[in-house]
């Protein structure tokens, strides 16, 4: 099993979480969330990785049937990743729009200033 993609995924997850906890700028928070998203996507892709495998597409497969069956990658993790990318797009679009609106209302993008709701 290749270890590097998993380490990369964990690193991305950690960086994103760090940004969410310690960065006060709303845009940076949105970026942190996207980084976590990429980390999780990389993790899912790494799960489906197979060394010397080929993509599970019959039209472009460069080999014969028997070889294809033996070397093709399982498409399920990639389908999951695609779905999760689409959802991630929706989340970041919504989050950035809300950040723009918040900047208009509060005149600041600092999370420490945007605290009309507390206690």
């Amino acid at each position: 099993m290749e270890l590097i993609p998993f380490l990369g995924a964990a690193l991305l997850f950690g960086i994103g979480l760090f940004a969410l906890v310690f960065k006060r700028n709303l845009i940076k928070i949105a970026m942190g969330l996207s980084i976590i998203d990429s980390g999780v996507n990389l993790f899912l892709i790494a799960l489906g990785y197979r060394s010397n495998g080929i993509a599970p597409i019959f039209t472009t497969a460069p080999v014969s049937n028997a070889q294809a069956a033996a070397t093709m990658v399982l498409p399920a993790p990639q389908a999951l990743t695609l779905t999760s990318i689409v959802i991630g797009l929706a989340v970041s679009a919504l989050m950035l729009s809300l950040a723009v609106l918040l900047f208009k209302h509060y005149g600041s993008a600092d999370a420490r200033k945007i605290r009309g709701l507390r206690e």
Binding site: L44, A76, T83, I87, V91, M95, L101, I114, L117
Partner: protein, 518 residues
């Protein structure tokens, strides 16, 4: 026709709200009357389908519906059989949750016809139906990845609805916080789904449950799922988003958010009892739930005392009531691996937890509806600036009182019936927990004494001279929910035996859930 509908009911429950969600913007072009009739038709059809299905499932046992094929399993040319298709699996617990959601959603729609004003309401109802589809999908799905997808659909649409009044700055702030929290929760969910997929190569809940074994990766997945779902269920100390989102959303959406929170609790229970049902770490998970529950009970109720905003006050008591559910369910979970203890008191604790979940959904909706009626009639939400509304709004006063009595657990109401089940069974598990729960239950009455006496009692104020009772459509939902709250309180044995006990059996017997699919 009826048998056709029954056969396809699981898919129809999901497809009807989606269909109406996509068509509502078109109906909106034809004017507000057409839109209202169309939306009403949509929610009515969905509710009827869900109730029919729920009755069928509770009477005849769990069932599976496969999307786009006749059976969940795919047989490969090599002869290997794998359950790979997207399935919906409905057992008594999902049926109970879905019926509760539709009961509340139906009245939320009727309420919103008068409550929501403005000209771009097509988008509002469109998002509302998407949220409803997300809710039903989350409750019905039998597949981990679909669970994630519906979880995200639910949170994205509800965030958009919380920010619906985007010109109020607090609404946008609450929506941002809610979105960040729910995205973190769903990314943790996706991460643990990835872990489970890497370990077992499966996504189907039943198939995963059958092959679950103790390992480091599985334990990490369990921990992340537990944390993510309990944050979405509003457990302290991760409850900070809840009063923000509840307080600033339009009232019909606040009520739906309450149901969304309960359905996150559903997902937590489904994962713990069904997915990890044969896991030896369950007592630890049960104790985690109990600890979260006790902290939630205390933090929720003490913070509610201090609130001045009527909706935030109710939201904090909702945190505290979620704590009761956590304690009841946690005791059930902690004893599920030892059949003797489970049948002695664990089952009753679980029954109490689920009964309290249903009751909580009902009286929370009732309270939010009446708080929304006060806001609708007076335009004010600060309790300090309200006084003497009982003379002006007699019906709302009575319904608020019924809700307050139910949430405080005053005897003939439904809240007491479920709380006494929790007290008596938890007492045999650990007496200290019962004492804590009793203290909190007494404390719960206190914020409502404050809210009731400052908003409805006291001298009439000059500025409320022209305040009138809210229109019929808004009172209707409150009236029905109040009657249900009283009836559930008067006939608790009947309710527990007909709808709660099948749900508890469905939740406690993992083998039955697995057996329907494999």
């Amino acid at each position: 026709m009826i048998s056709f509908i029954l056969q396809h009911a699981p898919a129809l429950c999901l497809a009807t709200p989606l269909l109406f969600a996509f068509l509502t913007p078109l109906a909106d072009k034809a004017g507000s009357r057409v839109r209202k009739a169309f939306v009403f038709l949509g929610i009515l059809l969905t509710a009827l389908t869900v109730f029919t299905l729920a009755q069928n499932v509770i009477l005849q046992g769990a069932r599976v519906y496969t999307m786009g094929a006749s059976s969940p399993a795919l047989t490969l040319p090599s002869g290997m059989t794998l359950p790979v298709r997207i399935i919906l699996e409905i057992d008594a617990f999902s049926a109970l949750m879905a019926s509760l959601a539709l009961l509340v959603a139906f009245f939320a729609v009727v309420y919103s016809f008068r409550f929501m004003k403005g000209n771009s309401l097509g988008k509002f109802y469109s998002l509302f139906f998407v949220m409803l589809a997300g809710l039903i999908g989350l409750v019905f799905t039998g597949d981990l990845f679909t669970l994630f997808v519906f979880f995200e659909i639910l949170s994205i649409s509800s965030v958009a609805l919380v920010a619906y009044w985007y010109k109020r700055k607090k609404s946008v702030e609450a929506a941002f916080k809610y979105l960040l929290i729910s995205s973190v929760a769903s990314l943790c969910l996706l991460f643990s789904i990835g872990l489970l997929y890497g370990e077992y190569g499966l996504l189907n809940i039943a198939a995963l449950a059958a092959s679950m074994r103790l390992s480091f990766v599985t334990m990490v997945a369990l921990g992340l799922l537990l944390a993510a779902f309990s944050m979405k269920a509003g457990a302290a100390p991760m409850h900070y988003w809840l009063p923000d989102a509840y307080g600033e959303a339009p009232t019909p959406i606040t009520v739906m958010l309450g149901i969304a929170t309960l359905s996150s609790l559903y997902a937590l229970l489904r994962v713990l009892f069904t997915l990890f049902g044969s896991f030896s770490l369950l007592p630890v998970a049960g104790w985690v739930l109990i600890c979260l529950g006790v902290v939630s009970m205390f933090v929720g109720v003490t913070m509610a005392l201090k609130q001045d905003d009527i909706k935030r006050l109710i939201a904090y008591t909702a945190v505290s009531q979620a704590g009761f559910i956590f304690v009841g369910v946690g005791v059930g979970l902690a004893t599920i691996n030892s059949p003797a203890l489970f049948s002695a008191f664990g089952e009753n604790a679980l029954k109490g937890g689920l009964f309290h979940l249903v009751n909580h959904g009902i009286y929370e909706a009732l309270l939010f509806f009446s708080a929304g009626a006060v806001i609708y009639a007076t335009g004010k939400r600060r309790l300090s600036s309200l006084s003497g509304l009982a003379r002006k709004m007699p019906f709302t006063t009575v319904f608020f009182l019924v809700g307050a009595m139910a949430i405080a657990g005053i005897p003939p109401m439904n809240g007491f019936a479920s709380k006494i089940l929790i007290y008596e069974s938890v007492y045999r598990f650990n007496p200290l927990l019962t004492v804590l729960a009793l203290v909190v239950s007494v404390l719960t009455a206190v914020p409502f004494v404050k809210a009731f006496s400052s908003a409805f009692l006291g001298p009439e104020m000059a500025e409320f001279k022209k305040t009138k009772e809210v229109p019929m459509g808004m009172l209707l939902g409150m009236a029905v929910l109040a009657v249900i709250a009283v009836l559930f309180g008067l006939l608790p044995g009947l309710v527990v035996e007909t709808i709660i006990a099948p749900a508890v059996n469905a939740l406690a017997s993992q083998a039955a859930y697995v057996g329907v699919v494999l």
